[in-house]
Amino acid sequence: MIRRATRRIARRSRRVVRVARWEASRATGGVDRRTLLAAVAFLAVAGGVFGAGAATGTVGLDVDRDVYRVGVDPASPYADAVEGEPALTAVPIEEATLGSTVDLVVREVRGGGSGPADVFVRAVDTPKGEAAAASFREAVDAHNERLMAAESNGTAAFPVVVTLRYVSRGSALDDGRTVGDASTAGAASDADGSDDAGAAVDDGGDDGIRGDGDDVDTGAGSGTDDGDGGSNSGGSVDGDAVDGERGDDGRWFLGGGGTGDLAIPSIGGGAFGASSTGSPGSITPPFPFASLVLAFAFLVPMNFLAQAYGSSVLEERTNRRGEPLLVTPLSPAEIVAGKTLPYVAVAVAVTALIALVVGGGPISVLAVLPIAATFLAATFVGAVFARSFKELTFVTVAVSVLLTSYAFVPAIFTNVTPVALISPLTLVVFDLQGEAISVGEFLFATGPTAIAAALLFGLGLGVYREEDLFTQKPVTRKFLDALAVRLSAVGEGVRESPATGVAARLPRRARGPAAVAFLTACTIPFVFVAELLAVAVLFALPITVSIPVLLVVIAFVEEVAKSVHLYAGFERGVFARTDRVAIAVGLASGLGFFLAEKATAVVQAVGLTELYVGRAAFGSVAGVAGLSPLLLAGLFLAPLALHGVTASLSAVGARRDRTRYVLALAAATLVHAAYNVGVVSLHG
């Protein structure tokens, strides 16, 4: 028995490897030498242009260059401040008309001494005027820092030295050492002459935060990194060398450290628990920016990989090229596994290489693997559903954008909230920071993603057959097909397909409902992901808005998950269109959802419920102690009743037509949301 099984597995893996080798040889032939040469030529031209531009000083990634116009006397010292700020452009004061040619007028008040005594600023009364005024204020601050950096008397220029430490409340603090360090650090930064704050603010400043990577200014050399990295003897970790630093202008800097140790990135401004010393301008709020940039490096190759993989799958489908493969004794699962294997291998290799370069460990590679699998799985489904390359392009872009943001955005809130753990990338950030990761956390972060990838492959495999691969159908219809494939007949007068596998062992009457319940249970990871994404997106909103919106969104997501395959079943004639059948499959779907939901009680173990928003989403069990057992049983079973009722409601609509289904779905969502509100107010 066991020997037969091993032999079968060996045979199957041989077949998979054969397909994989064929796919690999085909894929490498895809981009020929001429194409590569052309790409290299493009890049060389770009490099030349950049080089020439940099040499002549016309290159600068200032997207905000000259967006605000300031009227200022060219002789005034404030003209220098405006000059030093790319976002501001100076207009001679005699030509300045507020509102039409300038947004801001600066007039200085002459004092008795060498400099101006005061300054008056008049801005247009619009948001633009306010933004211009704020930008000007920052420009003056930056200008002052530059002036001070040039001073010979360091004590007068930088009279305040700050030592910042992060400690948890209640832990011991040795003040003596800190103060001692402060003075040595002061001396060090004195000798330095140039100060980080000056350099950071120097590069200008509007008050916007840029979202894209272009603004990451990696050019800051060792000279700009002051007491932060070089001079702290106060126990700050080496990681400070690469710290994500934010000038007060909202721009991010990667300060190349004086210590030159790039291996361990840290949270900006020193890891929690460490300290940093410098002038007040050099204080950086904690933010895991450097780690995030490095973590992003893991995601970039996935997009290219997904594109190549999608093209390969769709290529099989055009002109029936894949047909010879389908008529071989290979099963669809073997073909797909073989086609996917080379891409997984490349993903692992690239990830390992990146990990090696940026200093990640095996944890990083393991955490990125489910993300890679999900990229490939989603692209596979897209490529099987798409009708043309054009459609595939959009599907791939959609997949890339969705998955990248799903993986990346929660990781930004690493160290801030446990919700960050919904993304496997958070593990990478942890790993890069050298923090320990518990097994529970690892499973929590990677589990849903990995299961989602497996289920997506299952969904796509359902339509990996001749009648779907080589026909042109809208994506929605293929989706319904893929769902209906997994269902069994319920009710009289519908065609039945012979049962296989586990289903064959079930009594005939139980097959249909069991398949429904199983399919509903399979949606749980997607529901989970969708709900967590909703939590993450709504996290920024005030709690009075986020909770009600969240309750409705969650209700909707769950109702769709419970009923969309029922609709597919009725549409594809797997279920008889009667109310009795509708209620039966609705109840089965509700039961499946209930059981699967209870199985995911893992969520609570990780402490996600600590978060208020998380509690609303997953229904804390806290606070039920002291209730009677009968009530407890009622509370436990109430969700079952709810899921059954709402799923039946949608099913009754789904058995008629699409319009009725949508209406019934809306009604079910409202019922569900009302129940959620009840539960949340009950738990208080």
Partner: protein
């Protein structure tokens, strides 16, 4: 012209049938929503003024504490409470009566050293540290003014701070350019797919026997791709307008983006016609667009900056000149590519 319009109409009909254009708009919406979410989230973390009544309570001690108190009076959102000594201040921190501890000591060198203790690893840490930095910078400024005699050039007086949303600059310099340029890339990608797909499926042969020239086929495909771009951009600008973000010079922005679309579509058509297959074509197109756009953005007065300045109504004659240059560039590039394709054919 008629045959070109027919080809263009066929292209648009294909897009409509596949509803891909809806998907494209959905993707853009998602990107816009997400980047806004990100910015609002980060801003609320980094700009405590944006949070309602975020007030940081600092427990202070040491011989220079009086100056720190004076500085705190100038900083909204930070209050300093004096304690007898460091231990008492630390005690208040441990009791959660204070958000942070600052011990200000005068050194023999004439400097003032401030030892600051902030709480570890909570969401408030960022907010507290941002407020502390404001407080300490104000303190530094006051101290500098007092020591002005020792400085060769005293610092300039700083104008009073007024409330301004950091979101404002972001909207005009990042969000609007991104939303305006996304359709440009989508259009180029469409042309690559459209041409290589015809080649791949062999339908280009069918088109060739129809009474149209190869130039007209390319014209028609390009026309469809260029025509759908300004509509998408206009949709975004209108949405922003509804949302309370006035966008100036909309026609000029649309002109600039149409010129860029023509340029990118021309490049895309050229690549699709020259590349051996779809995969190579898409790869080359991605690289080319990255190079083109990255290069153009890096140049002073690049298209991104031009759109930002037009939208925020800070345009000057140089911006108008930029638009004209891109329009000419787009036309020249497209005509050049078309000539090349007419002479060499597609996929040979």
């Amino acid at each position: 012209m008629g045959s070109r319009l027919t080809v263009a109409r066929r292209e648009v009909a294909g897009l409509r049938a596949e509803k891909t254009i809806l998907l494209a708009i959905a993707i853009q919406l998602f990107i816009a929503a997400f980047s806004s979410f990100l910015v609002v989230g980060l801003v609320s973390m980094y700009d405590p003024g944006a949070l309602d009544g975020a007030e940081v309570e600092v427990a202070a001690a040491g011989d220079a504490v009086a100056d720190l108190e004076r500085a705190a009076a100038e900083v909204p959102g930070a209050t300093v409470t004096r304690y007898e000594d460091a231990a008492a201040a630390r005690n208040a921190f441990d009791r959660s009566a204070a958000d942070a501890v600052a011990i200000a000591t005068r050194e023999d060198t004439g400097r003032i050293s401030v030892a600051v203790t902030a709480p570890d690893a909570t969401v408030e840490t960022t907010v507290i540290v941002v407020q502390l930095r404001d407080l300490l910078r104000t303190y530094e400024r006051i101290e500098r003014v007092e020591r002005a005699e020792s400085l060769s050039r005293p610092p300039l007086p700083v104008p009073d701070s007024i409330g301004s949303s950091p979101y404002f600059t972001f909207t005009y310099t990042v969000l609007i350019p991104v939303l305006v340029f996304l359709p440009v890339f989508i259009s180029g990608s469409l042309v690559v797919d459209s041409i290589t797909e015809e080649l791949d499926r062999g339908t280009l042969e069918l088109l060739r026997v129809a009474p149209v020239t190869i130039g007209e086929i390319v014209d028609g495909k390009a026309l469809a791709a260029v025509a759908i771009a300004p509509g998408q951009a206009l949709l975004w600008l209108l949405l922003l307008e509804l949302n309370g973000t006035p966008v100036a010079n909309v026609p000029t922005i649309l002109l600039l983006m149409t010129a860029l679309t023509t340029l990118v579509v021309g490049v895309a058509a050229g690549i699709a016609a020259a590349a051996p297959d779809r995969r190579a074509a898409q790869f080359l197109y991605s690289v080319a667009v990255l190079v083109l756009f990255g290069g153009a953005t890096a140049m002073a007065g690049g298209p991104t900056n031009a759109v930002a300045r037009l939208a925020i109504d800070s345009a000057d004659p140089a911006t108008t000149l930029t638009v004209a240059v891109y329009a000419a560039l787009g036309a020249v590039a497209y005509l050049g590519v078309r000539r090349l394709i007419s002479a060499n054919g597609i996929g040979q």
